[in-house]
Structure formats: structure tokens, C-alpha cells
């Protein structure tokens, strides 16, 4: 059963230096507050995976907390490149970053394989693509019925998955709705699932086939209103596009980056997120 905990307790009890962690969210419902709490926790040497590492991974990489990144698209969505990630890959600053690169289709299937307790996922993928020659974790199997060669990738089985969702009911069952990405698969692929939510409600009262993660498949739930900012939570607040643009400038300079992180992350707590989304609520 999910425990209701403060975000700092949730992060500190479950994430450790050297952990393999995924913070999932496809543009929507990105767990910013949980990522910032992780940065404040002082842990390091993380292996991170995510289909779309964006600003939060740029921040963690820039802070030197990440030793390896598994990903399929590393960009600032709608804006451009990730400058801290670039600095790490191109210049080893502040430390070298090992990367394992896939396609979206392969990563999505890797999460599903993890959630399904399979060791691998198969797909008709990477045909003619260069990643096949670069990434030793892209292998193949031969179909025993047709003889066709298909791509095979290992299942993702992180230690911890962290996601943000709209709401939990009083028992800790969590509703994710709208652009749901691979959040359910990520949560179920991990040994532990940590969820931040906008609010707790008595009953979820939703469609019979809504995307719900039962309480007993979740480790910890923290209420953090605005916890996805500058990403968004459909039904709660809009995406703060200007923050993504601003990030492009902040992240372009190592010192500007560190100053910003000091002031906006290290010296803050999860309670600031509620204020940050005030002007984005309907």
C-alpha cells in the first residue's frame, strides 16, 4: 500500500547514490518538484533513464549527479538543445556522462517489458539506423515462425520510478489522465514507485477504463500542488512555455546555471511550486 509522505521523506527513503532512477513524463506531468527534491538530497552517481530527458535531467546532469543516461530524445521541448547535457557529452563538464541511446519505440517497449517482468522487448526497429552499430544493448532475435530478424532491447527495471499525476484517492490509488506517456509502464517496471499528485480526493470518480495505478503498486505518494511546473497538469494548470525559453538562456552558461540552481532549487522547497503555477491556472 502506498504511504502518504512528505516529498523529502519519499525521496530520502527511496533514492540513494548509485540508484537507477527514472523520472517519466512526456511533456505533460513531468515530476519537477520530485527532481528538485532529489537534487537537494545530495545523492550522486545516478543512472537515469527517460524517453525524453529534458530540463530536469539537464539540471541533474549539470549538477554532476548523473553517471549514466539511457534515453531516446534529449531536447528542450519546443525550444532546442539541452545545453548542460551537451556540455557533459562534448566537454565532460562537470563530469563525464555515459550514454545509452535508443529510439522512442524501443524505450517505450523496454518499459512495457519491465512492467511485464520480461527480460527483453522485441520490435521491428532500427532498420538501417546507426544506433544499432553504436549501442551494444540493441541486439536481435530471429522469428521462429517467419525467419524475420527483429530488434531486441533489454527490459528497463529501474530501482525507482518517479512520476507526477493529477490525483490520488484517500486509499492511495492514483489517476493519470490526458497525455499519459509511459507513466504506468514506468511505475510498474520499477522496484519502487514514487508519485507526486496535485491533490487527494475521496474518490477518483472516473471512466471505467481510465489509467489508474492501484495503491498496492505504489510505494509513496506526496501531495505537491504545482509539482509539474513548468510542465503542466491537464485540468489544473497550463504549461509555462516562457520557463522553457528562459532555461535555454540560463543553461547556456555554467555560472549562470549554478547561480540559478542555487537560488531556485537548492534554497527552495516543494511548497514553492504552488505559487509558480498560480498564474497558469484557469
Amino acid at each position: 500500500m502506498a504511504k502518504f509522505q512528505s516529498l523529502s521523506t519519499a525521496i530520502n527513503e527511496n533514492l540513494f547514490s548509485g540508484s537507477f532512477v527514472v523520472f517519466e513524463g512526456f511533456t505533460h506531468l513531468i515530476p519537477y518538484a520530485a527532481a528538485h527534491e532529489t537534487i537537494r538530497s545530495g545523492i550522486t552517481d545516478l543512472t537515469l533513464a527517460r524517453m525524453t530527458p529534458d530540463v530536469i535531467y539537464d539540471q541533474m546532469i549539470g549538477m554532476g549527479m548523473v553517471s549514466k543516461l539511457v534515453f531516446s530524445y534529449a531536447g528542450n521541448p519546443g525550444v532546442g538543445l539541452l545545453r548542460r547535457l551537451r556540455d557533459a557529452v562534448e566537454n565532460d563538464w562537470p563530469r563525464p556522462l555515459a550514454i545509452e541511446e535508443h529510439s522512442h519505440a524501443a524505450m517505450a517497449n523496454s518499459y512495457e517489458a519491465g512492467a511485464s517482468n520480461l527480460p527483453l522487448a522485441i520490435l521491428r526497429g532500427y532498420q538501417g539506423a546507426g544506433l544499432k552499430g553504436i549501442n551494444a544493448n540493441i541486439k536481435s532475435i530471429e522469428c521462429p515462425f517467419t525467419g524475420e530478424t527483429l530488434a531486441a532491447v533489454p527490459a528497463l527495471r529501474p530501482d525507482v520510478a518517479v512520476i507526477h499525476a493529477q490525483k490520488a484517492d484517500s486509499k492511495g490509488n492514483v489517476l493519470v489522465e490526458g497525455i499519459i506517456g509511459v507513466q504506468k509502464q514506468a511505475a510498474l517496471s520499477a522496484k519502487k514507485a514514487i508519485v507526486t499528485v496535485e491533490e487527494i480526493v475521496p474518490e477518483l470518480n472516473t471512466h471505467p477504463n481510465a489509467c489508474i495505478i492501484p495503491s498496492w503498486a505504489i510505494t509513496s505518494i506526496s501531495v505537491v500542488p504545482g509539482g509539474a511546473h513548468p510542465s503542466y497538469a491537464q485540468g489544473y494548470y497550463e504549461r509555462d512555455n516562457s520557463s522553457y525559453l528562459e532555461w535555454d538562456k540560463i543553461s547556456s552558461d555554467r555560472n549562470a546555471f549554478r547561480d540559478w540552481m542555487q537560488k531556485n532549487v537548492l534554497e527552495q522547497g516543494p511548497e514553492v511550486f504552488n505559487e509558480r503555477v498560480e498564474h497558469l491556472r484557469d
Partner: protein, 260 residues
């Protein structure tokens, strides 16, 4: 009516889309072209964004691939796994749109690195959905501005495969889809030669010279024997596109417009 080279590019792409197309749409020019088509010549076109939104009809252009507007106007929104498995690999997409940091004459695309993969000069975002969009969409349309930096003789990395070295290389690899069938730029419309699969120019935009073309492309350009001049955007097309962009600007001004 005056128009920009960006506008004729978007309009030219939009014109080629049809009501029964199911498009896997990327952010930027492809998104503008697909939504323009939906507002003009292809009102029943199906637009799919890789965030999982199927049959979406945004009133304004999205800034990110996963804007809330895409979901709230969609027929339905599915998980990432379903999107890539049932809809893309499942063979349901008629047109996949791709852009590129580097493109070669055979429609091979690089969005991964400039320079060497292990020690790149510029680390780009990577492929995302592109490797499989390139192989599973029934056809691929590429929209991008011409420049010698991006239209290169040899790409640094094969993010998404087009025709390889041309001829039958694509089908010999067992890929059963048609591959890049259209390249729309700010200067011209290109289509692959049926035999060699090299892109050749089938229409030049009004006022574009062969000299200007060659200055923006890193390989010797081939022209179709039936070379046309592209038709300028009509007044209606421009008005609809500009209205769409103005609506987009106003809608996003509250939260910051990241532009094109």
C-alpha cells in the same frame, strides 16, 4: 500577395496532404502544414502527434509535441507504447513527417550528432521516434530550409534511414514502406528519382535560380526533366495560415511563445 519563403514551404506541403491521410506530425513546419491542410484542402485529415494524441484538431499550433490543446481536442489519447506499436509499427500512418539537422540526397537523416558519435562536436537531441517513423510510415515527407550546413554530401550519423545509397538498398533491407517521397524546402519541391532514389528538384519556387539552389546544397543537384515552377500561395492559403499563426501567438503570449 507577398509571402515569405517559410510560407510557401508550409503551403506547398499542405497542398499535398489529403483527407484520407493519417499523419504523424512533428512540431514546427510539419505541424503548421498539417493544420493548414486541415483548415483548407483536407478538412478530414487525421493528425497524430507522438505524445499519443490521435485525431487531434488544435485551434492553435502546439509549442511542444505534448501540449494540452492536442489532448483536449483529440479523438482519443493513448499510451506511448500503444502509439508506437499499434499505430506506427502497425502500419496505420500514411505520412510521417521528418525534419533533419543534416540530410543527404537519398533522404537519409541525421539529428544525432555533428562530428563523431563518441566525441561529438555538437550533441543533437537524437532520433526520438524518427528511426521507426522513417521505416513504418507508408511514406515520409521531409520539410526543412535549404542550407549548405544541413543539405550535405555525407551525413555524420544515420539517425533515420531513407534510401541508403539509393537504388534498391531500402527494399533489399526488407523495409516494405516507400520511404521519403517528398522534400519541401523554402526554395523548391523535390521528389526521389524512381530508379536511383536520389532526390531531384521537380519544382522551383518563383524567383529561385539554379545558382542560388546550388549554393545552398552540398551535392550536385539534379533537376527533373519536367521541372515546373511552384505555384505561389493563394490569398486564401496565406490568410488561413496567417490567422492560424496569429491565433497561436495570442494563445501562447500568456505563457511564453517559443516560436517556430
Amino acid at each position: 500577395m507577398n509571402y515569405s519563403s517559410y510560407e510557401i514551404m508550409v503551403v506547398s506541403a499542405a497542398r499535398l496532404l489529403k483527407n484520407d491521410d493519417v499523419c504523424f506530425v512533428g512540431i514546427g513546419a510539419p505541424s503548421a502544414a498539417c493544420n493548414l491542410a486541415k483548415l483548407t484542402n483536407a478538412p478530414d485529415i487525421t493528425l497524430i502527434y507522438e505524445s499519443g494524441t490521435i485525431g487531434t484538431a488544435p485551434d492553435v499550433l502546439p509549442l511542444s509535441i505534448g501540449d494540452g490543446e492536442l489532448c483536449s481536442t483529440a479523438l482519443t489519447t493513448v499510451s506511448g507504447v500503444e502509439m508506437f506499436n499499434y499505430w506506427l509499427q502497425g502500419g496505420r500512418i500514411t505520412v510521417g513527417f521528418l525534419g533533419a539537422a543534416q540530410l543527404d540526397r537519398f533522404g537519409n537523416i541525421n539529428t544525432t550528432v555533428i562530428g563523431n558519435y563518441e566525441k561529438p562536436k555538437v550533441r543533437l537531441p537524437g532520433g526520438g521516434g524518427a528511426p521507426e517513423i522513417a521505416s513504418h510510415s507508408k511514406q515520409v515527407y521531409i520539410i526543412m530550409k535549404q542550407s549548405p550546413r544541413s543539405f550535405v554530401n555525407k551525413i555524420d550519423f544515420f539517425t533515420s534511414y531513407g534510401f541508403g545509397n539509393g537504388f534498391n538498398e531500402r527494399s533489399d533491407k526488407g523495409i516494405q514502406t516507400k520511404g521519403p517521397q517528398l522534400l519541401v524546402t523554402d526554395m523548391a519541391i523535390w521528389k526521389p528519382d524512381p530508379t536511383t532514389k536520389e532526390f531531384e528538384v521537380v519544382a522551383l519556387n518563383p524567383g529561385v535560380t539554379r545558382e542560388a539552389m546550388q549554393e545552398s546544397v552540398g551535392w550536385p543537384i539534379r533537376y527533373s526533366e519536367t521541372l515546373d515552377e511552384n505555384i505561389p500561395p493563394t490569398k486564401l492559403e496565406l490568410e488561413v495560415l496567417r490567422d492560424l499563426q496569429e491565433r497561436t501567438r495570442i494563445a501562447h503570449s500568456k505563457t511564453g511563445n517559443s516560436g517556430q
